[in-house]
Amino acid sequence: MYAIVGGGLAGFTTYVTLRHAGLEPAEIVVFDDDPNPVARWRPRAEAIRQTEMRSESDGHCSARSFPGLAVREARRRRTIAPLVRSVCDRYRPSVAEFLDHVEELRQQTSWDASFRQATISRVAAVPGGFELEGQGVFQHVVLATGHPGLRRPARLLDNRRAVHAYEPHDYADTVAIVGAGMAAATEWRNALASGATVVSVRRREPRRRPLNVDRELLTKRGLRSFQKTDPAWRAELLTRFAEPSYPPGRAWDEPIERATAEGRFRVAGDWDDAEQVICATGFGRGYREDPLLRALAGDHGLDTVDGWIVLEPDAAVGGLCDATRTLAIAGVAAQWAYPAADTLVGMKYVARRFLDRSRRCRTR
């Protein structure tokens, strides 16, 4: 039996991959509170008024890389424009297209038949598998617990003017936006479009790159080099990758340049004068902020470096896997194995390798 702890996009992508490989819904159990795989992702995207996905053509949940969303949209709209943009690395599927695609896959793969409403806060390695807190023993388990909550600057925790970018909100006349990553850049545009005056509060200048991580790290060669780094250096690299960034392009720059000229956008060190403070500061980081992963590492004495559980190159928890059982981590906590593990491409990377490793177990 297979278990997926966490029914968000990482868990969903793993499930779709297992189903594609021929596993039946009865052989897989997905544990979460909400059966909707985009239940957590969708409100966040809506909160920042996100209309397009950042990822390119492979940013979808299907097990196969092709056909992706560009083909899907081309078929639906009966135009080759999405394919042409995809060939030129200019295709960004709309959020609506992505949500439709997730819903379609959810139906096709009988996701709901495998779903079990339960919160798992402890995993125990037992002979032949893993005990999931009263839910039984499962031979192969993926932990896809997602981001461990929203992160806010300590000074803003009790500030009534403050709201996190990923929480529903409107815009006041003067808005301070804390952060300089993709969410912050999106919020600059949103607030300016609503007529607000924006103060960008940032500790460092954002990097401009098309994807979350350098493209090189999505390649086999780049990944091989990354996975050969020593633990301390790898932890430092991962911290560097987490620095704020958003894509280059006129669509991002023009509104800022125009508003700056009009005196409606400026960079400042503090948010004192603003009526509203939006924390575009992302998510909590590290396994210690995730109760399940913290317990797993503590209970089993797993190797850790800074905020990371040390994983095998295939994102398996090496110390707990053997010839009869598999435990892997998917999503952001798997960045130790794959720096872009929090993207859909990264989720598929982990899912495919989890499948491979589980198939090598002698009892299956």
Binding site: A63, S86, V87, K220
Partner: protein, 392 residues
């Protein structure tokens, strides 16, 4: 997509399987090796570029396939030309374009959909890649083996006189040792026959080619034939570096190529033809007559007539009686870069068109005339009975 070198090699080999199979079917159909040779050139160019150039690219966006494809097209055609592959341009272009489309579909759609980790593995095909390499090697060896086994046998003709006529009815190479002589002529009726370095003496015709395709006569020498030195009917031939010495008399010609208009074009190149009524004559055929020396002819030196189509270029015509180069009877001839000397009037004829014309268009024929040099001849260029001459 970001490829490793192994990924590039394996993806390219996978993409070349279908073009190779098509070429394997096509080659016997057209009875030519060029389809296989062309696909081989494509593969060699691709693998070399993979190794030397493409491996330096960290990331290859989809649109790059177009300029890189054009680069590969140029290099493939250049290599094919250097190796004398002999592929006709449009079919070659069609094969290249088809192969390119197959490669794009394979690497952007088929392989990513059939092999989940294709992109993550940077184009590598895992165990399938090793199998593919083995299949590729087997196909290459099989192709070479088939090519070797299909080569016609080679027979050597020893020094000395051999009684003819020799009849060559199947594909073969007949290579004469120095001093090898066939007395009584050679008759060729089989396709893919090559005769090299043989001297022929006597015979009705010195060498007769009848109903045969892809015949090569290279370095042959014909002396004392009763009629034509080389007589070609309903055949396509390449005649290179031959030497023909004809007797004088009616009906005797150096080289006569006739009635093969619907067949592959023939070629006469680098020959020395002396004597005879006509030196080189073409009736209703498509022939290139190039870089030959024709002299001491009684009627015309080089004749292209009876709705023939071809070119007469870079020849040296000397001491012809009546007419030097003749294009007649609705034929179309390109006449360029020839040197015509000492054409004399046919004193025994009252035909006014035979009074020493170096280059003549006759009876609705059309000459596309280039830069020729005429010496010591009564008339350099002439047209008669509806024949026309245009600048090339």
């Amino acid at each position: 997509m970001s490829y490793t070198l192994r990924g590039r090699f394996e993806s390219r080999l996978a993409a070349s399987v279908l073009p190779f199979l098509v070429a394997l079917v096509l080659s016997p159909l057209v009875r030519e090796w060029w389809p296989l040779e062309l696909v081989g050139c494509m593969l060699i160019v691709g693998l070399v570029l993979d190794l030397v150039v493409y491996d330096r690219l960290d990331y290859q966006p989809g649109w790059a396939a177009l300029p890189l494809g054009l680069l590969e097209l140029g290099l493939t055609m250049t290599l094919a030309r250097l190796l004398s592959v002999g592929a006709p341009p449009w079919p070659a272009l069609a094969i290249f374009a088809g192969s390119w489309v197959v490669a794009q579909l394979l690497t952007h759609a088929v392989l990513p959909s059939r092999r989940l980790t294709y992109a993550e593995e940077s184009g590598e095909l895992g165990r399938g890649g090793f199998a593919l390499a083995a299949v590729g090697a087997a196909v290459a060896l099989g192709t070479l083996g088939a090519a070797w086994s299909m080569q016609p046998p080679t027979y050597r003709l020893a020094r000395g006189v051999h009684e003819g006529p020799l009849e060559l009815v199947t594909a073969q190479r007949l290579v004469g040792d120095p001093g090898a002589i066939v007395k009584g002529g050679i008759v060729i009726t089989g396709d893919d026959v090559e005769v090299r370095d043989v001297t022929v003496r006597g015979g009705e015709h010195g060498i007769e080619v009848d109903g045969a395709d892809a015949v090569v006569l290279d370095g042959v020498k014909v002396e004392g034939a009763k009629l034509d030195g080389i007589n070609v009917r309903r055949s396509s031939v390449e005649i290179r570096d031959c030497e023909i010495r004809s007797r004088s008399g009616a009906y005797i010609q150096g080289i006569d190529i006739s009635f093969g208009f619907d067949l592959a074009p023939s070629l006469v190149e680098g020959c020395s033809v002396t004597g005879g009524l006509e030196g080189i004559v073409v009736h209703f055929a498509r022939v290139k007559v190039r870089d030959n020396r024709v002299s001491r002819t009684e009627l015309r030196a080089i004749t292209m007539t009876e709705m023939s189509d071809g070119s007469v270029e870079q020849n040296d015509v000397d001491d012809a009686k009546g007419v030097g180069i003749f294009c007649g009877d609705y034929s179309r001839c390109v006449v360029d870069e020839n040197v015509v000397s000492n054409v004399s009037a046919d004193a025994g004829s009252d035909d006014r068109t035979r009074q020493g014309v170096a280059i003549q268009s006759h009876f609705w024929a059309k000459i596309m005339l280039g830069q020729n040099r005429v010496h010591s001849s009564p008339q350099a260029v002439g047209a008669a009975l509806g024949g026309t001459i245009e600048g090339k």
